[in-house]
């Protein structure tokens, strides 16, 4: 899960997509790759339970399993926290890729929460990845950075899918915000999901609870759809996520 730009909702998206996958019965491990700026644990409400971290695993100070923290609310959800007092140079790409491949044997899905930027931390985080999920918002700066990141992961031959975060449908309708179609077209990337801007996510993040815990929440449904698309199901985009007929036609042509 990567974006280039910081603050677009990567960690929140990673947590909620991961939780949605776990809720659907998959074994999921979330990896906080942002060494020095640990946050995934905090968003998920597991910050008090950390014993070991990723760097200690790499340095052989503990077993990989010892560093994993189980989320009791989901059974099959675990996280591997980042080190907070180390820097990104503590780990090499090879070491990182090794950890990811070890985790892949223990889980159905390993979601790597990438740090912002395109430097060392980013290169480490994508070293062991099979696919890149780009998180972006409908803002010019986020889109430009997403484009740059797409270029970087394409060099590594990783398939790319796009989650557009914080869409405000009423602003799109009035022409004050780039639409989902605009963003997909500009980035020429396949769409994986659309997350509307919603205040509820601030509240649940404050509490350290993934929003998917409450299935009645609007965003919980959106994250669940993303989880199903990751499983391979073809889930149509709903009205809120509406795409125009012409665009769908063009999208179909592009895909074909």
């Amino acid at each position: 899960m990567t974006s280039g730009k910081g603050g677009v909702g990567k960690t929140t998206t990673t947590v909620n997509v991961g939780a949605a996958l776990a809720k659907r019965g998959h074994r999921v491990i979330l990896v906080d790759a942002d060494i020095g700026l640990r946050n995934l644990d905090l968003v998920l409400g597991l910050e008090k339970r950390i014993v070991f971290d990723l760097v200690e695993v790499v340095e052989g100070r503990c077993q990989l399993k010892q560093a994993l923290i189980k989320d009791k609310r989901f059974e099959s959800l675990q996280i591997l926290p980042a080190a907070q007092t180390r820097d990104k140079d503590s780990v090499t790409e090879e070491q990182f890729a090794r950890v990811i491949s070890d985790l892949a044997e223990m889980a159905d899905f390993v979601l790597i929460d990438c740090p912002a930027g395109i430097e060392r931390g980013f290169r480490n985080a994508i070293a062991g990845a099979d696919e890149a999920i780009i998180v972006t918002t409908p803002e010019v700066s986020a889109i430009r950075d997403a484009d740059r990141v797409i270029g970087k992961v394409s060099e590594k031959k990783l398939p790319v899918r796009l989650i557009i975060n914080r869409i405000r449908p009423e602003m799109v309708r009035s022409g004050d915000m780039l639409s989902v179609d605009d963003v997909c077209e500009i980035l020429s990337a396949e769409l994986l999901g659309i997350i509307p801007d919603d205040e509820e996510v601030i509240d649940t993040t404050n509490r350290g609870e993934p929003i998917v815990l409450d299935p009645t929440k609007r965003l919980a449904i959106m994250y669940d759809k993303i989880a199903r698309r990751i499983e391979g199901e073809i889930v149509p985009f709903s009205n809120l996520e509406a795409r125009g007929f012409l665009d769908r036609l063009l999208g179909g042509l592009k895909a074909g």
């Binding site: 010019v140 889109i143 430009r144 484009d147 740059r148 270029g151 394409s154 799109v172 009035s174 022409g175 004050d176 915000m177 780039l178 639409s179 605009d182 500009i186 020429s188 592009k254």
Partner: protein, 119 residues
């Protein structure tokens, strides 16, 4: 050029402006070409075409489109007449009365030194 016309005729929504700006900036990111160079490219393109045919400068559209990894330049240039214009368009202040038609063609892209009518 296109920006200018959009600004003159009818207000554009901010999302349309954002899209246009992004297109241009991503293009220059991909080409490692500065946005002003892209504008210059457009201006020179029009200038070259004008040597051979008379084009309708007010209706020229030049766009860049990206299809996956390939970039295409689409130019829509209405031609008013197949004959080259005998005189330079008089709407712009020229560089004096001296005969200027011959020997003005230069290989190097230094169009700004010409009184380019399209700038």
């Amino acid at each position: 050029m296109i920006d200018l016309f959009n600004r003159l005729f009818g207000k554009q929504t901010s999302s349309a402006t954002a899209k246009e700006r992004l297109r241009l900036v991503l293009l220059s990111d991909h080409l490692s070409l500065a946005p002003e160079l892209v504008d210059k490219l457009k201006a020179e393109l029009i200038e070259v075409l004008s040597r051979y045919v008379e084009v309708d400068r007010t209706k020229i559209e030049v766009n860049f489109e990206q299809h996956d990894s390939a970039i295409a330049m689409m130019a829509n240039v209405p031609i008013l007449s197949m004959h080259p214009p005998k005189v330079e368009t008089p709407t712009h202040p020229g560089g004096g009365d001296a005969p200027k038609r011959p020997r003005r063609r230069r290989k190097r892209p230094t169009a700004t030194s010409n009184p380019a009518p399209a700038s």
